[in-house]
Each structure stands twice: as structure tokens, then as C-alpha cells.
Amino acid sequence: MADAELSYPEFRSFLAAALGVAESELRPETRFFKDVHIDSLRLLELLTRLEKLLGMELPSDVAWEIRTVDDAYQYYLRCLRDRRT
């Protein structure tokens, strides 16, 4: 699981399930706080799911730094790359 790269639609499905949001609400530019009203505590919880998905520990700061769906996906891809190298 940790090494299988999710495509953007797959990651969006993962995000929608983790945040309890309809997939159709999540576009790359969707902002967590302003557009879908997800608070940082919820993003902290998302992070623990992302840790399971990636099989690695992630810093909590990320929950306050990823602003959009695309931020989250790019962060996921970066973690995956870091993990492989």
C-alpha cells in the first residue's frame, strides 16, 4: 500500500472518505478552511490516515499548512518520493 502511488482521482476518493466530503466538492483548488469548512483538528486526523497510507510518520505542522486539495496531493507525492529515495 505504502509504495503504490495513488492517481489524483484515487487520492481525491481517499480524501473525500477521510474528510466525510462528497468527491464532487473536491477540486484541486478547493480550500479546506474556506470552501469545505474543515478545521485543523480534522486535518490533524486526516494526517494520521495519511501516515497509515504512506507507512511513515508525518509532522503535525502539515495539518496547518496544506490549504487546498492540490496542496494535499502534492504533499502526498513528495512524501512518496522521499520515501523511495
Binding site: 473525500a16 472518505a17 477521510a18 466525510g20 466530503v21 462528497a22 466538492e25 469545505v36 469548512h37 474543515i38 478545521d39 485543523s40 483538528l41 480534522r42 490533524l44 486526523e45 494526517l47 494520521t48 490516515r49 510518520e57 508525518l58 509532522p59 503535525s60 505542522d61 495539518a63 496547518w64
Partner: protein, 543 residues
């Protein structure tokens, strides 16, 4: 050694003024790059009080404080008490659906807020006047008052005492709104006396006889090194990065100011920035919820910041697992205290640096005042040590009652002054208390109390919903998270995603369910009440 110069026979403003005049040029409050001395802070509080008086606030009045963590919040917290008015600190993130009923219930005549705080819908409602808010005389924007308040023209130490009317210490000083078991928010009302009792009863160390203080100092030095001695002889630098409208925030603010310490205000919670602030401001006393502590320890900056100034980390506002307390003690390398309290009564129980580690990790501590805590059965008779019952306290800091809710007040307070918490607990022979459950249906999500009844009542107003049950389930990050189970009417096509979207749109952040599940039928009793304990056993994918 720092001292308390206040007594519960004062008003909040008198106590603050007296402390400020003693400490004058010491730093009192830091927010971002600004640090105010006690003299400056008192001047600004007195100036705001004068501005509020000119706008019609006076004895018996009430003003809602709808501000985020800021210097303005601190001025606004103390200024109304100078006029004999009560302050009502309110969560600035509330949506109008939650905010308007609170403003209506409180009967406030003024609101102090800022242009960018209420959302647009709320601002329009407030400015155009709402039929359910007939008492509201004015919405005051901080940005329009800032220049007048902070110009410092008032001679705080000369005339502020005579500027304002005499106020009884038993008059209402503050209304704190919390979630309600009946589905609507309720206000906990405190007088000046109960607020000041709450701020002083935690100062157990400085109430000890001098010889005991020396013994304590020697023990502290032996365990934590000389930094502990240095720390205890200086007024503390404290920080609680929680929202200031919550006990975790304002309790720490006033507790610090009344001993001449410096409180560091954090405008928002970001783990890296909080750690940077602890290092920069040399914070000694840090108060966190368990979720915040976890977030700090998992920050990428945790190992990079110098946290050696810390001497006490207090974990409070939500149940703290023994594992987290142990982990925090090792990570922060300071004495970890577990504290327990409630808005209705302030801080009540705590562990200290000298309590055995097993007690610190497995309990919420002992009573701050002797014989003022007991465990009772359903008839409110004290049960033997080691038996489960409801936790009750009798302390000078017990609230006056719930506003506009005599029945609720009567159920929480008895004629002898005991407050029944609704928490199920066990007390051991040494007086240490362990919380084992809750008598009332309440969820503590990330340190904030949420009553499922409020969410259920909202969901039941939606078309297509037949029945609903909200409940808490354990969560590794939040402590507890909110699950909402919904049974639909026949033919209804609502989805869990759709329901989630509606909740996000119309409920305030703390009340939004983390997980929504549509079920075929909710298990109910003969009278139609949902049997929530059966829901706990339902096979649920927790992801």
C-alpha cells in the same frame, strides 16, 4: 517569591488594578511583537471602560465579546467589570444560527467585535437589527476604537479607581456559554467573587507555610535542577494557546495576571509557531489540551527548539491517557501536571510535581482544597473510597448558576453548595480521583465539550430525517470524535455526504460530525429513545 495581592472580596477590575499598580513596569502581556507592561495594560483597560461607558454600558449591563485571541480580548475581558457590567466571551467562529440564540438569551446590550470577525451573513444581521435582539443597543468594532483606547491618555494609576462606580463582588461578572444537554447553549454565570476564587484556589504552593516552601524548593531543585528554583522566584511566563473564550484560555490569562506574571497570547494555533514562541518568550508554564500536546510533539520543529525554560506543562480540558502523559514528560523534560476543571467551577483537581508518577499518569489528581471533593451515589450520598459514583465539588469558585435555567441550575447545584459534575469517577484512599465515564451525554472533541443533543435536534429539522443519534467514539488524535447516525424517512434520498455538507454549512466547527452514517433503523426503546449503547457495538468501519 511571587505573591497574591488579591482577595475574593474585590471585583475583577479592582483585583486587576491592584495587581497592576504593584507590578507597574513589569511585562504583563505579549502578543506578537508587542509587550505591554502592567501600567500600559491597565491604562488601556481603563480607557476601553471609559469608551464603553460613553456608549451606554453601565452597572447591570452585559456586553458580548466576539473577538479572537488578541490584546483587545484582554482589554475587553476586564473593562466591563470596571463599570459593573458583565462580559460574555463568545466563540468568534460561531455561525449566525448558533450566535443569535446566544445573544438573545444573554440579553446583551452591546457587542464588541471586529470587522473581519463575524461572517458576512452575521454582520448584516447584527448591523440591520434582528427582531429577536431588542436589547441590543450597539455593535462596536475594535478597529474603530483602537486608536482612542491605545493612545494611553488616561492616568491609570492616578484616577481610574474613582472613575468607575462601586460594584458588589457578588454581582454577575461573566457569562460563559457552553453546549447544552437540552440542545441549546446555556450560560454559566460567575460573580466577581467566584471568578477570583477560581483564580486563587490553584495557588496551593504559595499558601504553604514558609518551611514547607523551602522543602518543596529543595525537592524541586533535586529533581529538575536549578532552573526550577530560578523559575519559582520569578513571576511566571505562561502560555495557553487555546481560544481565550474557553476556560483553558481565560483561566490561564487571569491566573497569570493576578500573580504578576506575563501571559503570551497566541493569535492562532500552529505547532511550529507555538514552539517558536515558547523558545523566544522563554515560557515557563505551558497549559495545553492533550490534542495540542500531541500536535506539538509531532511538529517537525519539536527537536529543534530550545524548550529548556519550561518547568510545568499542565494537561487539561480533556481526558489524558497515561501513555500521553508519560510521552509528554519525556519529550518536554519538565514536570507534567494533569489538571481537571469545568467552566462551572474553574480548576478543581490537579496532580503536582511531587505526586507519584503512577498517580500522575492514571488520575486527574487531588482536590485543590481539602474535603471539597466527594463521590456520590444517585441519591447524592457519599460512597466509600474505591466505589464509582458522580464527582461533586464544593468550592468558593462554584458558579452562581445557569442563566435563564432554574431547573438546570437546581439539578447541578444543591442547597449546601455542592456542584454535581456529571462525571463518573473513583476516589482512592489518598484522595486521587480517576474519571471512568460520564453520567451526562457529552463528547469532548479535541478539548471542546459538545452535547450530542444539539446536533440531533438540528438534524431532526431536516427534510427526510426520521431519527438521529450523535455520539462520541474514541479517536487517537481528538480523544473523541463525533459520529452521527441517521435513519431516513421512507423514500428519502439523502446521502451521508449530503448530510455532511449540510452540517458543515450550518453548524459551528466544533459541532460538525466527523463521521456520518445512514442506517436502516436506529435501535430504540419502547418510548422511542435511541439506545446508544447498542450503536457502540455496531460493526462500523473506522477507516
Amino acid at each position: 517569591m511571587y505573591k497574591l495581592h488579591i482577595s475574593p472580596d474585590m471585583t475583577l477590575y479592582e483585583a486587576f488594578r491592584k495587581t497592576a499598580l504593584i507590578h507597574r513596569d513589569r511585562p504583563a502581556l505579549t502578543c506578537g511583537d508587542r509587550t505591554l507592561t502592567y501600567r500600559e495594560l491597565l491604562g488601556n483597560v481603563a480607557a476601553l471602560a471609559r469608551e464603553l461607558r460613553e456608549r451606554g454600558l453601565g452597572p447591570g449591563g452585559r456586553i458580548a465579546l466576539l473577538l479572537p485571541n488578541s490584546l483587545a480580548f484582554a482589554y475587553g475581558f476586564f473593562a466591563p467589570s470596571a463599570l459593573g457590567a458583565a462580559v460574555i466571551p463568545i466563540d468568534p467562529t460561531l455561525k449566525s444560527r448558533d450566535l443569535i440564540p446566544i445573544l438573545k438569551d444573554s440579553g446583551c446590550s452591546h457587542i464588541l467585535t471586529d470587522q473581519n470577525v463575524p461572517d458576512e451573513e452575521t454582520r448584516i444581521i447584527l448591523e440591520s437589527g434582528h427582531p429577536s435582539l431588542p436589547d441590543l443597543k450597539g455593535v462596536l468594532y475594535w478597529s474603530e476604537m483602537k486608536a482612542a483606547v491605545e493612545k494611553g491618555t488616561i492616568s491609570a494609576d492616578a484616577d481610574s479607581e474613582t472613575l468607575f462606580p462601586p460594584v458588589s463582588p457578588d454581582a454577575p461578572a461573566a457569562f460563559f456559554y457552553t453546549s447544552g444537554t437540552t440542545g441549546t447553549a446555556k450560560a454559566v454565570v460567575h460573580s466577581h467573587r467566584t471568578m477570583l476564587s477560581s483564580a486563587t484556589q490553584g495557588q496551593s504552593f504559595i499558601k504553604r507555610p514558609p518551611i514547607m516552601q523551602v522543602v518543596v524548593l529543595v525537592k524541586l531543585a533535586a529533581r529538575y535542577g536549578p532552573r526550577m528554583i530560578r523559575a519559582i522566584f520569578r513571576p511566571p511566563v505562561t502560555m495557553s494557546p487555546a481560544p481565550l473564550h474557553l476556560l483553558l484560555g481565560y483561566g490561564s490569562l487571569i491566573g497569570t495576571l493576578f500573580v504578576g506574571g506575563r501571559f503570551v497570547v497566541n493569535e492562532s494555533f500552529h505547532p511550529g509557531k507555538i514552539l517558536e514562541s515558547i523558545e523566544k518568550e522563554r515560557v515557563g508554564f505551558l497549559t495545553l489540551s492533550p490534542t495540542m500536546a500531541l500536535a506539538l510533539m509531532k511538529s517537525r520543529d519539536f527537536g529543534r527548539r530550545n524548550l529548556s525554560s519550561l518547568w510545568i506543562l499542565a494537561l487539561t480540558s480533556a481526558p489524558c491517557s497515561p501513555e500521553l502523559a508519560f510521552r509528554a514528560e519525556r519529550a518536554f523534560r519538565c514536570s507534567v501536571h494533569i489538571a481537571f476543571g469545568a467552566t462551572e467551577i474553574g480548576a478543581t483537581l490537579q496532580t503536582t510535581a511531587f505526586d507519584p508518577r503512577a498517580k500522575k499518569r492514571g488520575t486527574v489528581g487531588r482536590s485543590l482544597l481539602n474535603n471539597m471533593t466527594r463521590i456520590v451515589d444517585d441519591e447524592r450520598r457519599e460512597v466509600p473510597r474505591g466505589r464509582v459514583g458522580e464527582l461533586a465539588h464544593r468550592l468558593p469558585s462554584v458558579m452562581l448558576g445557569y442563566h435563564n435555567a432554574p431547573d438546570l441550575t437546581a439539578s447541578a447545584l444543591d442547597g449546601e453548595g455542592w456542584y454535581y459534575t456529571g462525571d463518573l469517577a473513583v476516589m482512592d484512599e489518598q484522595g486521587f480521583v480517576r474519571i471512568v465515564g460520564r453520567k451526562k451525554d457529552m463528547v469532548i472533541r479535541g478539548g471542546q465539550n459538545v452535547f450530542p443533543a444539539e446536533i440531533e435536534q438540528f438534524v431532526l429539522t431536516l427534510d427526510g430525517v426520521k431519527n438521529a443519534a450523535a455520539m462520541g467514539r474514541p479517536d487517537p488524535v481528538l480523544g473523541e470524535c463525533l459520529w452521527l447516525y441517521v435513519e431516513l424517512q421512507e423514500g428519502a434520498t439523502m446521502t451521508a455526504e449530503g448530510l455532511t455538507a449540510i452540517c458543515r454549512e450550518r453548524l459551528s466547527p466544533a459541532k460538525r460530525p466527523d463521521h456520518v452514517k445512514i442506517v436502516e433503523a436506529l435501535p430504540v426503546t419502547a418510548s422511542g429513545k435511541v439506545r446508544k449503547f447498542l450503536l457502540k457495538d455496531m460493526d462500523i468501519d473506522h477507516g
